[in-house]
């Protein structure tokens, strides 16, 4: 809400800035790291960095600030690292310097992001080593394949083993760890046959090189690791990119509050330091940090993200407020009734975590394939070992060589690439339509859905209201109304201000906002009011005339009362999305916390028949749980705090970027576009990806059907193994690339560019 600070009364704005600064400085301090020489390292998020010019502006400005040892801006991550020479110094100075330069400073969301991504660096190192080894061993192997003499072959095998053994030990770790973890839990994943194949191939090649002088499969073992590491690194890159992007979205929930002390002074305390019985001041434009009861003051509050109610409500002394509610118009003091850890927010978070635990049971497609594939491969290897033992009447060496070559050729190189490559390409397709994906399994789950549950407020509707009927005559009256409306951050007033194109009237005296009623001011000595109809009509000439529909009222003393009707606006593409899902034989339902009338109106316009209204967070969760028990796979699309447990419990979930933090954290996908159609487009991409992944598995298995008989027959040699493995991998990657080419054009775009209006929904408003 900082963008609106300019339109707030001066003292409110000042109070808000003080609060913000306190909060930022405290949080930055908590995240900073003290270095051994007494300096402190701060890493801050600066979302506004977007070009090279920004980097130099930031670094130049910071260079002029006293006490800064070094400062470096990072364009890719949109953050800056700043070292203060004296660790005890306040970061306020550089925060102000940055804000004066036009760069808002935010704290980072996640502690782990600050310390970098060690797992990724580890993967890249493993990949580099495997790449180096593959290139060199391949060069040596080519000489062997093209008929080098026995002496040269022997030397080249020794050289290869010197390169291969450390490489397998170093670059194989990601696979060995994961395979060991899976075996520990008595499961089989794709890494088990991979690890087994690589280790056995290396061991047999060592034995052959030093004792037997036969075939060496070092090239196969190392190139397998190289290909698989490419897949794994891409997969990791994709996930960390999505996590970063989600983490960069501005945070909404308060991390602390302004506590009113016994002597009347204000002190900013972190959320853990706020206890029941304390009085917390919440200024206009801030979110309520903890659950409480209004102790003093009147204001309008926006519960949209907490309960799903679309219209703001008035609160006075005694009204109870839940953490996360946005205070709109007046400064209020609330008496804290619960610790932050027992608050409504915490309750929702617990529900969400409980729901997520159930989610962990989903088995990814690759692991389901591995479950069948691994035993099959091991049985074939064992059978060929026994078969050869019988056929060669007990020749151990011959039988083991064949069994191991079966394991090498079936090592799931293409299977390991089948999923990550397709998912990486799908992720880039998704991000081009403004959808961020948190992990690959979500894509698999999205392709399986058979029903969609929409939240109403903020999901099917946009959070912005628009003006329906406006009686205010254009000219001076209209300009006065705009000036009054600009004074408030109440959504109704903001919509009105946005809807009047004329310049605001300058020269209103004693302009102020009366929380719960509206804005008033004197023009030419006559009182003008904008707000609640009954309140505005007090100054109007024609007395108590009220319009049945409700809405805003405006009057300039002795003028008549003018009505402004407010409408809730549907999100662009809402109707098309519902239609598209219906066409795809997927059922739609609305789960809303709002009133029956409000929900019914939206449902009728978007064309959804099944509707549930007045739901509490637990009710939404319960509904999705019963659906899941019935074996139905639901996609939940929602934004609010009240949707968070449902988002976590649903088979798969999506949230708009405007959602509450909790909602965004719970959802598998976040869409940044205003158009709801991106939900359907994401579903479309997920389906296409799923079919590509299945084709990839098919290709990989077909290759095995060709190669396994060769190995079982004992006809495999390192050259055939190398060609078969590389070609199957290339085939799978090439097939995945088709995701880029196919379907670029058939993404459905919303046809109607003009938004659809739900008439007169803000009955209670203003």
């Amino acid at each position: 809400m900082s963008c609106c600070a300019g339109s707030l009364p001066a003292q409110l704005a000042a109070e808000q800035i003080l609060n913000k600064e306190n909060q930022l400085v405290q949080e930055l301090r908590a995240q900073s790291r003290l270095l051994t020489d007494g300096s402190a390292l701060y890493t801050v998020s600066i979302p506004a960095i977007h070009c090279g010019q920004c980097i130099s502006t930031i670094e130049r400005r910071l260079a002029q600030v006293e006490g800064i040892k070094s400062a470096r801006a990072n364009l890719s991550l949109k953050r800056a690292t700043i070292t203060l020479a004296d660790g005890t110094q306040s970061p306020l100075k550089f925060v102000q310097a940055l804000e004066n330069a036009g760069f808002a400073v935010h704290t980072l969301d996640d502690e782990t992001i600050i310390s970098g991504d060690p797992e990724f660096k580890n993967l890249v190192r493993s990949l580099a080593v495997a790449g180096f080894a593959t290139a060199n061993i391949m060069l040596l192997s080519v000489a062997v394949w093209s008929g080098a003499g026995p002496a040269t072959t022997e030397v080249f095998h020794y050289l290869s083993s010197i390169i291969a053994v450390p490489t397998v030990a170093y670059s194989g770790r990601p696979f060995f760890h994961s395979a060991a973890a899976a075996l520990k839990h008595r499961r089989v994943n794709m890494d088990v046959p991979i690890s087994l194949g690589v280790i056995l191939a290396t061991a047999m090649s060592l034995y052959e090189s030093f004792l037997g002088g036969g075939h060496a499969y070092f090239d196969a073992a190392v190139s397998l690791l190289f290909f698989l590491l490419i897949g794994r690194t891409l997969d990791h890159l994709m996930r960390s990119k999505a996590r970063d992007a989600v983490g960069r979205l501005a945070r909404l929930s308060a991390k602390g509050g302004l506590v009113v002390l016994a002597d009347g002074s204000l002190s900013y305390l972190p959320i853990e330091g706020i206890h029941p019985g304390m009085i917390v001041r919440v200024v206009a434009g801030e979110r309520v940090p903890v659950d409480g009861i209004v102790f003093d003051g009147v204001s309008d509050v926006d519960r949209a993200l907490v309960t799903g109610e679309s219209a703001p409500t008035v609160v006075t002394k005694g009204s109870s407020l839940e953490a996360g509610i946005l205070n709109l118009t007046g400064s209020i003091d609330i008496e804290v009734v619960r610790e932050a850890k027992d608050s409504f927010l915490a309750e929702v978070l617990q529900m969400m975590q409980a729901a997520e635990n159930g989610h962990g049971q989903y088995v990814r497609l690759a692991d389901r394939v591995a479950k069948l594939y691994a035993p099959f491969v091991h049985v074939v290897a064992l059978a060929s070992f026994l078969g050869w033992m019988g056929a060669t009447s007990g020749n151990w060496h011959e039988a083991i060589t064949v069994a191991i070559s079966v394991l090498i050729i079936t090592c799931p190189c293409a299977l390991g690439l089948a999923v990550p490559v397709a998912h990486v390409i799908a992720a880039s397709r998704l991000s081009s339509i403004g959808v961020l994906m948190k992990d690959g399994s979500a894509l698999e789950r999205l392709a399986e859905i058979d029903s969609v549950a929409f939240d109403k407020t903020g999901t099917l509707t946009s959070n912005q209201a628009t003006i329906g009927m406006n009686e205010i005559p254009s000219g001076k009256l209209s300009r006065i109304a705009k000036a009054l409306a600009l004074r408030s951050i109440h959504p109704a007033a903001q919509s009105l201000a946005g809807g009047i194109s004329e310049q605001p009237y300058v020269g209103i005296k004693l302009l102020h906002e009366i929380p719960g009623f509206g804005v008033e001011g004197y023009v030419d000595g006559r009182l003008a009011r904008l707000g609640r109809q009954s309140w505005a009509s007090e100054v109007a000439a024609n007395g108590q005339r009220q319009l049945a529909g409700g809405g805003l009222g405006f009057a300039w003393s002795r003028s008549s009362l003018y009505h402004v009707q407010l409408n809730e606006e549907l999100r662009v593409g809402a109707r098309e999305t519902v239609q598209a899902f219906t066409d795809a034989q997927i059922s739609n339902i609305i789960l809303s916390g709002d009133s029956a009338i409000a929900v019914a109106k939206v449902a009728a316009i978007v064309g959804i028949v099944s509707v549930k209204f007045g739901l509490r967070p637990g009710d939404k969760l319960a509904y999705l749980k019963t659906q899941a028990d019935l074996g139905r796979k639901a996609l939940m699309v929602g934004d609010g705090l009240n949707d968070a447990p449902a988002l976590a419990a649903a088979h798969v979930s999506m949230a708009p970027a405007s959602a509450s933090d909790t909602g965004r954290m719970a959802a598998d996908f976040v869409f940044t576009s205003d158009n709801l159609m991106s939900v359907y487009n994401a579903y479309n991409i997920a389906c296409r990806t799923q079919s590509i992944v299945k084709q990839n598995f098919g290709l990989a298995i077909a290759y095995n059907l060709l190669a396994v008989p060769l190995a079982v027959a004992g006809a495999l040699n390192p050259l055939i193994a190398a060609i078969a493995m590389s070609s199957s991998s290339i085939l799978v990657v090439g097939n995945s690339m088709r995701l880029y080419l196919a379907g670029r054009t058939d993404e459905k775009r919303s046809q109607s560019q003009s938004p659809i209006i739900v008439p007169n929904i803000w009955k209670k408003a203003a």
């Binding site: 070009c51 130049r60 260079a63 070094s70 991550l77 660096k121 890249v124 580099a128 060199n136 060069l139």
Partner: protein, 54 residues
Amino acid sequence: MTSLVVLIPVALGLGILGLAAFFWSLTSDQYDDLDGAAARILEADDIISPSSQS
């Protein structure tokens, strides 16, 4: 044959040199801000940090 005795160690040595250079660049955080590095090269002057002024 004798040429191989020289050439293979040379080839491997160069490869290891490249690998070592990559590891060094990775540990010195040169891949942390690829977009930034691309943009910085277009800036006219090096930005003077306060520590180098003092």
